[in-house]
Assembly symmetry: C2
Homo-oligomer: 135 residues x 2
DNA sequence: CATACACTTGCGTTATGGCGTCAGTATACA
DNA sequence: TGTATACTGACGCCATAACGCAAGTGTATG
């Protein structure tokens, strides 16, 4: 659920919000998601709702096996999947709850970052010169 | 707020969910966000909470002017910003509410896509052979 | 009409990343 | 111990895109 916007009281608080926003907008994660093949692979894993091996995923989405292996690695390194090696097969799993939570947090962070309607006082963003930009 | 997962009753419903997921995972939008410079520019605009010109944004983030102009164009084309030309200046604006809504929708879509805990019946994903993959 | 301003676009360079192939590693199983 | 299985990694090719520079376009202003 969305948090209600509260104007940052201190530069420190504003800086925390910036940091939170930046963390949630992790380029590695977004780059991983931005590839259509990888998005397809992720959706496969979400739909299956259980850990899948590289072979299974490759059969799912008719992408070259080694590419699937690489994509799964990328998704896992980006924190979008978990992986567990058992014997000679690696089981990749998509945690739908965690992913959904991440994007809800991001939504909250976006709303926290922006000032209220009509708020014109310095929001402590430190990015723009308040004199220059609010003339 | 999160919707409660309900197993798709028909292949048609499952297909609608897939389509929703794919739409929310628009590669163009994610690619636009995945660039650190562009994320920075977007956060500038969110923090300012009002339309900014290209010149203002360029002064904000110490990136080459023509690059800022290009990045803003990319963000706008990806639907992350709105732009309005008035005279010789273009005003770019980030709609925090709309962005937050988008990511909450995505979170919902992710949760809708995945089967309930322990659900092993065919979820109509059509991506995996139920026989082969659930052995 | 000339000039300043606010972008936009084209160009060449560089960097990143996807893609397939193929060889290598690690594990199970007969 | 040999062979099949399941992946991983290294190479090279190619497409895309970021980046900075500089020239071009369109709009106000004197």
């Amino acid at each position: 659920m969305a948090s209600v916007y509260k104007h940052p009281k201190t530069p420190k608080q504003a800086s925390r919000r910036r940091a939170r926003f930046d963390r949630l907008l992790e380029p590695e994660m977004l780059k991983a998601l931005a590839e259509p093949s990888r998005a397809q692979i992720l959706s496969c894993l979400l739909k299956c709702g259980r850990p899948c091996s590289v072979t299974e995923v490759a059969e799912c989405c008719s992408i070259d096996f080694s590419m699937v292996a690489r994509h799964l690695g990328t998704l896992a390194r980006a924190g979008l999947l978990t992986s567990e090696k058992k014997g000679r097969t690696v089981w990749y799993n998509a945690d739908a709850r965690a992913l959904a939570l991440h994007f809800r947090d991001l939504a909250d962070a976006i709303e926290e970052l922006t000032p209220q309607d009509g708020c014109i006082e310095d929001n402590g963003c430190g990015c723009c010169d308040p004199e220059g930009i609010r003339s």
